[in-house]
């Protein structure tokens, strides 16, 4: 995965760059918005990490210019600000995800993977049915089947499953699931997601021979048939 890191703090940029390289990614650093635009015109990146606060041209402005040039590369905005409207502002400017500093590296990597795969995965499901590993979810009436056996789910559990079906084989952090399933964008120690996962497993995995929801220790959860393909 080829990543452009747009970050004005040199220490933060090199630390991040090294960490990502250690996870098998290729990185390039741009120190401000203008340099980022230049780098993008020269190279093709798969994901851009954009710092929100930068001198000269801030992240939002740079993002606007990137989108104006018709470049659709997924952008993850990093910010030290955490207010909800700042997040909304970032996403409205064309950002694809938003992460507040300080963050755990595993959180960032999970999100980068999600952004990368979103751009590269082929949509297998049609409009009515979302399908993966023998699990089917009818997006119209909400009915769920596994191996053609009806599974009864609560609305929030169905939302969780829907998100898993959209992102098979991807590590999802608790934070990501809280954001996507609950639309909660705050820090919490609550076991909300873990409890939901546990209930979903009871209903979707336990009655069947093969488990599909897996826990990746220290990282999050993944919806997959075969864990060996997950990095």
């Amino acid at each position: 995965m080829k990543i452009l890191i747009v970050e004005d703090d040199p220490t933060a940029a090199t630390t991040l760059s090294k960490s990502l390289q250690a996870h098998g990614m290729t990185t390039q650093i741009a120190r401000d918005g203008e340099k980022a635009l230049a780098a993008i015109s020269e190279n093709n990146f798969e994901v851009i990490i954009m710092d929100r606060m930068m001198p000269k041209m801030d992240g939002i402005e740079a993002l606007g210019k990137i989108r104006n040039q018709g470049i659709a590369t997924p952008v993850l905005i990093l910010s030290a600000l955490g207010e909800v409207d700042e997040r909304v502002e970032g996403l409205e400017a064309g950002g694809d995800d938003y992460l507040v500093k300080p963050y755990a590296l595993s959180e960032l990597i999970a999100r980068l993977n999600a952004l990368y795969k979103r751009n590269h995965s082929v949509q297998k499901s049609d409009k009515e049915w979302m399908v993966a590993f023998g699990v089917k979810l009818n997006t119209i009436n909400g009915k769920v089947f596994r191996d053609d056996v009806r599974v009864q789910l609560q609305p929030q559990e169905r939302k969780l499953l829907e998100y898993f079906l959209r992102h098979p084989n991807q590590v999802m952090t608790r934070k990501m699931l809280l954001e996507k399933v609950w639309d909660f964008h705050f820090e919490t120690d609550s076991n909300l997601i873990d409890t939901q996962i546990s209930r979903l497993r009871t209903k979707l995995d336990k009655p069947f021979s093969k488990a599909l929801i897996h826990t990746i220790r220290g990282k999050g959860y993944v919806f997959a048939e075969d864990l060996s393909s997950i990095e």
């Binding site: 955490g82 207010e83 909800v84 409207d85 507040v100 300080p102 755990a104 609560q154 609305p155 929030q156 609950w182 639309d183 909660f184 964008h185 705050f186 820090e187 919490t188 120690d189 609550s190 076991n191 909300l192 409890t195 939901q196 209930r199 220290g218």
Partner: protein, 453 residues
């Protein structure tokens, strides 16, 4: 003092004006009285003339002259003259030239030569006079010396000067006294202000408890209350700062020790770093919570407000928490009315509810129950969480919403002691209060909101 002088001058001027008006009214009243007396006398004498003729009138006038004489101090003078200006009766020696026989009272100048010889010690002057002419051409004149009137006027004038002087002096004295008391009070306030300025925040304005309270005492009372609030806030702040330092130093020290330990190792595995990273992560969470708390208290988060479906949010959260409670063998009861909306921030409200739920789960023992309700009554929405297993004193109830205040039995468990502070701040932002009560070993957290209609 200048104020007192100004006030006393003003007061004296007002008194003087009042006295002048009084003086004018008195003299005017006396003159009117004299005029009507003169008219009345003339009418009576006219009647005597018409009934008894010239003779009768002369007799009456002579009698009046004797009466006046016997009184020793006559103030009224008469003159009765025939057509050819022969004096028929009366004590006046001369008919003044200006005196017209028009039956009207007018002021005529009487000189010494007009007055009776034996009463020449009388002052001459302008006296009210009335005169008439009878059908036979004879003329009658009545006049009255205004000697006694002048005496009255003199007395009034004297009283006026006396009163004005007295008022001036008294008001000056009172002003001086008042100025002294006020100055004393202001001086006290100034002294306190100086002390507070130099850092002695515990200083208070000295108040007269025995005296009647005036505006300055009230000012002192208000200043004292203000100082108390400021001092309390400062102390709270100090306490929070100390708590921050204390709560953050411990994990930092642990991380330092761990890292120093690792430094001595030859190879470091990721497991070795895990506990240090966990500590740092918790530190960051604490800082984030502190920042959020600061933002909630300082800025106006209302700009993110929208119509929040409180019923739906409560139902979704309550469902998952009922499962968490079930896992701990705690009974979760909920009563959530449908269709309740709030004007608010969904993120904040969810965060507050989660914090309250987590608290309840933490303190409720296995086998006990948690009761959660969201109800609307008369346009007001109540959100309440009740649980057993926690016995708090009233003092503790007040304390636990303060940052970093944790109950002793919670010290060992996870959490940063900011949860309830955040809940309180979030409810405040929504125009509500976090009300904490303990009754019969039941702890209840409740907030009442104005519902969105």
């Amino acid at each position: 003092m200048r104020l007192a002088i100004r006030q006393s001058i003003l007061l004296s001027l007002l008194t003087m004006v009042a006295m002048l008006v009084l003086y004018w009214l008195v003299s005017h009243f006396v003159l009117v009285q004299i005029s009507s007396d003169l008219k009345y006398s003339l009418q009576q004498l006219n009647r005597v003339e018409s009934q008894q003729g010239e003779k009768g009138l002369i007799q009456t006038l002579d009698r009046l002259a004797i009466e006046n004489e016997s009184r020793g101090h006559s103030h009224r003078y008469y003159l009765y003259q025939s057509k050819d200006n022969n004096i028929l009766a009366g004590t006046l020696r001369h008919w003044p030239d200006e005196a017209k026989t028009n039956d009207k009272v007018s002021n005529i100048l009487f000189e010494e030569k007009d007055l009776p010889e034996d009463w020449i010690d009388m002052d001459e002057g302008l006296w009210p006079t009335i005169a008439t002419e009878y059908s036979d051409g004879s003329k009658l004149l009545i006049t009255q010396s205004i000697d006694s009137t002048e005496q009255l006027n003199d007395f009034t004038m004297f009283m006026m000067i006396f009163l004005v002087t007295a008022v001036t002096l008294i008001s000056l004295f009172l002003g001086w006294m008042q100025g002294r008391t006020i100055l004393k009070k202001i001086e006290r306030i100034n002294n306190t202000a100086r002390s507070v300025e130099s850092g002695e925040l515990h200083q208070r304005v000295e108040l007269d408890t025995h005296a009647n309270t005036d505006e300055f005492d009230e000012l002192g009372i208000h200043l004292n209350r203000m100082l108390e609030t400021i001092e309390r806030l400062m102390n709270d702040n100090k306490q929070v700062s100390q708590n921050i330092a204390h709560d953050l130093r411990k994990p930092l020290t642990r991380v330092q020790a761990q890292l120093e330990g690792l430094q001595a190792q030859e190879t470091i595995s990721s497991e070795d770093l895990e506990s240090s990273l966990k500590e740092l992560e918790n530190l960051n969470k604490t800082f984030n919570a502190l920042l959020q708390l600061g933002r909630l208290e300082a800025s106006n988060p209302k700009k993110n407000f929208s119509k929040v479906d409180l019923s739906a949010l409560s139902n979704d959260l309550s469902f998952v928490y009922s499962e968490m409670a079930g896992d701990k063998n705690i009974q979760w009861q909920s009563q959530i009315q449908d269709g309740i909306f709030l004007d608010g921030d969904r993120q904040l409200l969810a965060q507050a509810m989660i914090n309250l739920f987590e608290n309840a789960l933490q303190y409720t023992h296995s086998g006990e129950s948690i009761y959660f309700s969201v109800m609307k009554n008369r346009g007001r929405t109540s959100l309440a969480i009740e649980n057993t297993g926690i016995a708090l004193t009233k003092e503790q109830l007040k304390e636990i919403t303060k940052p970093f205040v944790r109950l002793d039995n919670a010290r060992s468990s996870e959490g940063n002691g900011l949860g309830l502070s955040l809940v309180k701040a979030i409810f405040n932002v929504h125009g509500s209060e976090l009300q904490l009560t303990v009754t019969n070993n039941k702890f209840m957290a409740e907030a009442i909101f104005d519902s969105h209609d």
